[in-house]
């Protein structure tokens, strides 16, 4: 525990120092990142200690505020979240030091590091907090720190707008959490987690509150609207942290809430599952339609959160129908995907940042051919792309596969429970996961292909340069981590076991624990295939190099069906690559196409633009806010300057009160 405390202290120290030193940006950024690295190392040590020993460490101090106490505890569930958080923050800090200096105004460096370390500390605190008030304070602190980080580059209108939307979304989410905690603590009168109790019949309501409150942070559709705005706006290492781990605190909150709700009705599980499916498919579809690589990645966060939601939903259904395989593998898959998504999504954001750093643009349609100039960035980005598409032999597959397996094992069970709606379950889980996987690989062949392959589509792309050494080191580390997790899959079954068992209600624990050996074999099988794949590829490419020495012709133009002088402008663009899919799903995506067709015999110019604004932002939230503003504008008539009216209000008030209250 003291390790963790020390970690928090180091983080806060780094924060304050970098704020004080903000006059000297270079110094500030070094202290800031050093603080982040040190603090995160300590936190990781603490978490590993807990996972290793298996018993959770905690401490409680008094806090001189109403309802307050500083109760902190690291149990397996918390540890499972602390590790990715600390890891990603650590790597992002290493990456961020040169990145901030490279591409941001000197005056913003110090404050941004202050908020970065603050964000790290509050995220860790959120996961470790055991008292409602402490949790809420840390939670809001996290939101605010990230809010200021989003506003780092506040000269742009879009960034300010993003910051505002983010602030509003976070606040609305938190409102639900306030009610949730107060309702949980109502019977005991205190907000300590261990004294929470559920009044009968309230479990469903509480679950919905948690789903809205935490889902806003996690970015479940349709509460995701802040996400594609805020993540592109922030500096890339911050986007990596936000998208990689910060939104996962929402998942953590949801799972933690589930541990407070023993008797969940089964519709909760179905709801979560449906939400997950919506976010998964919707997220990847909107990602396909994006031109800006960072908003593409942001929508993919929505997609992956959806996958996690599907896993958690399967787990919940497993609990409420008591099917151990679904319960264990669903939650295990979800938790593992939390880790995996943290790894490859932050990797991808760092890659995007390196590209922006090296070319000065994020527009996929203006990039291309970067693999030649930025090999390391490109290579690691490719690894990330494969991983997020859930391809073997990478980590993304393992977690998705666990979720699949949970359903499969229970479906293939000879004595499967007849009163579970199996067919819809299979369609929802397996069908949508398969669709998501296919669409994701479509999206990332587009992203990687159009950014790094082919010919440069613009001058910036042609004159790109590789990122600095620390940035490359960060990306390589993450890419390596993706492989490590994938190739040591079975180990995680055991690492996640205690965490999953904390979520599963006590009654079902030993049954759930019995799933581990049952699913160990398959996982080992998968790993064998992984190793074999790597070996086979290695062998083949070795052999290929041996033979290709003979008669190799190099440096000719691409065979373009007889056309000898292809120009970069003739390449297939990202938009055209995605357009068949966009058109197929136009009902959902509603792309806006503005076309200036060539006219006349010798057309001077022609143009084609397509953009895909967010469905919910445009058709749900926008109108709502506009409606409120309209009502307000009507109410303003009330006060239009005439003192006679004002006195009239007083007279009427007292008159009405006298007649109503005394009558």
């Amino acid at each position: 525990m003291w390790l963790f405390a020390a970690g928090l202290t180091v983080l806060s120290a780094g924060a304050l120092l970098s704020l004080l030193l903000s006059k000297a940006p270079r110094l500030a950024s070094w202290t800031g990142s050093a603080g982040a690295v040190g603090g995160c190392l300590l936190a990781i040590a603490a978490a590993i200690g807990v996972l290793w020993s298996g018993e959770s460490a905690g401490a409680t101090l008094a806090w001189e505020v109403p309802l307050g106490s500083l109760a902190v505890e690291i149990d397996p569930l918390a540890a499972v979240f602390i590790i990715p958080i600390a890891l990603v923050v650590l790597i992002a800090a290493v990456y961020g030091a040169p990145y901030m200096q490279g591409s941001y105004h000197a005056s913003t460096v110090g404050p941004s590091w202050f908020f970065f370390n603050l964000l790290a500390a509050t995220m860790l605190l959120v996961v470790a907090a055991r008292s409602g008030l402490l949790f809420l304070v840390a939670w809001e602190g996290m939101s605010l720190a990230s809010f200021f980080l989003v506003l780092t580059d506040h000269r742009q209108e879009s960034v300010r707008r993003a910051g505002w939307i983010y602030l509003v979304a976070m606040h609305l989410g938190t409102a639900c959490l306030l009610v949730l905690f107060l309702l949980l603590g109502r019977s005991s009168g205190s907000l300590e987690f261990d004294q929470f109790a559920v009044e009968p019949g309230l479990a469903g309501v509480l679950f919905v509150l948690a789903l809205i409150g935490f889902g806003t942070k996690a970015g479940f559709m349709p509460l995701h609207v802040w996400l594609p705005e805020a993540h592109p706006a922030a500096p890339s290492h911050v986007s990596a942290v936000m998208s990689g781990v910060m939104i996962k605190t929402g998942i953590y909150g949801l799972l933690r809430t589930v541990t407070f709700l023993p008797e969940l009705p089964s519709w909760c599980g179905w709801t979560l599952l449906a939400v997950g499916v919506l976010s998964g498919i919707g997220g990847v579809l909107f990602a396909l339609a994006q031109h800006d690589v960072k908003s593409l990645l942001a929508y993919h966060s929505v997609e992956n959160i959806g996958i996690i939601g599907i896993g958690a939903g399967v787990g919940l259904l497993g609990i409420s129908y008591d099917i151990p395989a679904m319960a264990f593998l669903g939650f295990a898959g979800a938790l593992l995907h939390v880790l995996n998504h943290a790894l490859f999504k932050s990797l991808l954001f760092l890659g995007a940042g390196a590209v922006q750093h090296g070319t000065g643009t994020r527009d996929i349609d203006r990039l291309g051919g970067l693999l030649k100039t930025m090999p390391i960035t490109g290579g690691t980005f490719f690894v990330g792309a494969c991983a997020i598409s859930g391809l073997p032999p990478l980590n993304g597959f393992v977690s998705e596969w666990m979720i699949y397996l949970g359903v499969l094992l229970s479906v293939a069970e000879p004595a499967r429970d007849a009163n579970v709606a199996w067919a819809p379950l299979c369609v929802l889980v397996i069908g949508s996961l398969a669709l998501i996987g296919g669409l994701a690989s479509a999206c990332f062949t587009k992203a990687f292909g159009c950014m790094f392959l082919g010919e440069p589509r613009s001058e910036q792309a042609r004159h790109s340069h590789e990122a600095g050494r620390p940035m490359r080191a960060a990306m390589v580390t993450l890419a390596a981590a993706c492989f490590v997790v994938a190739l040591s899959g079975p180990v995680f079954l055991f690492l996640l076991r205690p965490a999953v068992l904390t979520i599963v209600p006590p009654g079902a624990r030993e049954a759930a624990a019995a799933v581990v050996p049952q699913s160990l074999g398959p996982l080992v099988g998968v790993c064998v295939i992984f190793w074999a794949t790597l070996a086979a590829v290695g062998l083949l490419s070795w052999g290929r190099r041996k033979m290709s020495s003979a008669g190799k012709v190099d440096g000719v133009p691409t065979w373009d069906c007889g056309y000898a002088a292809p120009t970069p402008r003739m390449q297939y663009t990202a938009s055209s690559y995605a357009s068949p899919l966009v058109i197929l799903f136009r009902l959902l995506l509603r792309p806006r196409i503005t076309l200036h067709p060539p006219v006349g015999l010798f057309p001077k110019q022609a143009g084609f633009e397509s953009e895909t604004p967010d469905l919910f932002a445009q058709y749900v939230f926008g109108p709502t806010f506009a409606g409120v503003a309209w009502i307000a504008s009507k109410l303003r008539r009330f006060q239009h300057g005439r003192i006679q009216l004002y006195v009239l209000y007083i007279a009427l008030t007292i008159l009405v009160l006298l007649i109503w209250k005394l009558g």
Partner: protein, 499 residues
């Protein structure tokens, strides 16, 4: 002791009317403010005896609000000194519409300021309905010239509205007092004076109907002064036209005094067993005020009016909390403290902004971070604090009030409360973010042309240290509520029969 509390500022006021030198006058202002703080500390340390056979006394509630008043006045007096030092006289040209206007003579201003303090202190310590009413009326009279300081036509209009509306309100309060007297006739034995203690002793024998009617009148009357919708109409005008430190005092202190008056009425009804009657009314007016304020905050074109409407909202929160009762009452007293500090800070920040940018329009101010870095930080901190986000005290108090609602099972009220808070947040944050961030706007650059706007000199200490202090205080209250304070709050809530 208690006499001194009122007498010191009053005498100082007379002195400052007399004194010929401005410099000395400013010294006097700060001096008397600090003496007042000292006296407050003294009465806090050892409670003094009631004087004037119980007409003037000091219970926990008085002490609480006295402390707020004293501290806020001291801080603003520091700001005032700096402000007066840089105010140009005689006549200046209004940059927006070409109207010449000349400030009041400083003697009158300072004098009224101190008189204002005396009156407010009297409101807080008076334990006699009539005396309290007189004191409240006196605050109106003392503050009117303060609002009219700039002698600008618009400030004149504001003052006129302030005077007339508040006088009407106060007249109703007087009628309320008479009704109290009538209801007191019901109880046998010698006719009792309208002292708070006296009435509360015989509360059970008071005549119900007259008592209820009296409460209605007191609520509307003092509610007008407090700025409860729909009687709040004077508030935005006065706050927007008054000099900023005066707005800070109006919002941070004066409204609290009126709130205390309303609370006294409520506690009397509670003691008389009519608690439900007053609670319902308080909840009603609380929600009404929050709703109105929310509607006017959205796309508000004038940042001082924005702050004024947010004051209306918070007054709503205060009475709402008291109306809910239980722990919420404690919460709303705590919230009174937090709101006073935060709002005073915001108004001082607004003052700095107005002084540098020469406009109150939220649309014309952009990129404050370039022009006034510290003030910009104050704006952001103020935004977060006033919208009740941690780690600021307002979060705690609003949370406690919400807890009161949830525990009491007032789900509908809780939902309305949260909705109103959310709308206010959305409206305010949109405005403040636009003001603080981004590039300085065209209006700003045009203001660059005229000499005294173009100075990018660092902000003077007098303009940033007082608000910074207040901000730190709110932050501190968010991180830790000292035992003494929470005891005082509980005691006050108990005295007022709200808990």
């Amino acid at each position: 002791m208690l006499w001194l509390l009122v007498a010191v500022p009053a005498i100082a006021a007379l002195l400052s009317f007399a004194l010929p030198w401005n410099g000395l006058r400013r010294v006097l202002l700060v001096l008397s403010a600090s003496v007042h703080v000292g006296l407050t500390v003294a009465v806090f340390v050892e409670p003094p005896e009631p004087v004037l056979d119980g007409w003037i006394a000091l219970d926990a509630a008085s002490l609480l609000f006295l402390a707020i008043t004293s501290v806020l006045f001291f801080v603003t007096s520091l700001y005032t000194v700096g402000y007066l030092a840089q105010e140009k006289r005689p006549a200046t040209l209004d940059p927006t519409e070409a109207v010449r206007f000349a400030n009041y003579p400083e003697a009158v201003f300072t004098g009224c300021l101190l008189m204002f303090l005396a009156a407010m202190t009297l409101v807080l310590v008076s334990h006699h309905w009539g005396l309290m009413w007189v004191a409240v009326e006196a605050t109106t009279l003392a503050s009117a010239p303060l609002i009219y300081f700039h002698r600008h036509p618009r400030s004149l209009e504001a003052t006129w509205k302030y005077l007339l509306i508040c006088s009407v309100g106060i007249a109703l309060a007087l009628l309320g007092n008479f009704f109290l007297a009538v209801s007191a006739k019901a109880c046998p034995g010698e006719s009792l004076h309208l002292t708070i203690a006296g009435l509360e002793q015989h509360a059970s024998q008071l005549n119900r109907d007259w008592l209820r009617a009296a409460f209605l009148l007191l609520l509307v009357g003092y509610g007008t002064k407090m700025g409860l919708a729909p009687m709040h109409t004077w508030l935005p005008d006065a706050h927007s036209e008054a000099p900023s430190m005066v707005s800070a005092l109006l919002s941070g202190v004066l409204l609290n005094c009126a709130f205390l008056a309303v609370l006294r009425g409520h506690s009397l009804l509670v003691k008389a067993g009519e608690g439900q009657f007053s609670r319902d009314l308080l909840v009603l007016f609380g929600l009404l005020s929050m709703a109105f304020a929310a509607a006017f905050v959205i796309r508000q074109a004038d940042y001082k009016r924005l702050l004024a409407y947010s004051s209306v909202e918070h007054m709503g929160i205060l009475v709402l909390g008291v109306g809910i009762g239980g722990i919420a009452a404690f919460g709303s007293l705590l919230h009174a403290v937090n709101h006073s500090l935060t709002k005073a800070m915001l108004f001082l920040a607004a003052g700095n902004t107005l002084h540098r940018c020469h406009t109150k329009s939220t649309a014309e101010i952009r990129g404050l971070f370039r022009v006034l870095p510290v003030t910009a930080v104050l704006w952001i901190v103020g935004l977060l604090a006033i919208t009740g986000s941690p780690p600021f005290g307002t979060f705690l108090s609003e949370l406690v009030i919400l807890k009161g609602m949830i525990d009491g099972g007032r789900i509908v009220v809780a939902v309305a409360y949260l909705l109103a808070l959310a709308v206010v947040l959305i409206g305010m944050s949109a405005i403040v973010i636009a003001m603080v961030y981004g590039k300085p706007a065209a209006a700003e650059s045009s203001a660059e042309s005229n000499p005294e706007a173009s100075d990018t000199s660092p902000e003077p200490a007098w303009s940033i240290l007082p608000p910074l202090f207040l901000g730190l205080a709110v932050l501190f209250l968010g991180l830790c509520v000292p035992r003494e304070l929470s005891d005082l709050l509980h005691e006050a809530a108990r005295v007022l029969g709200a808990e």
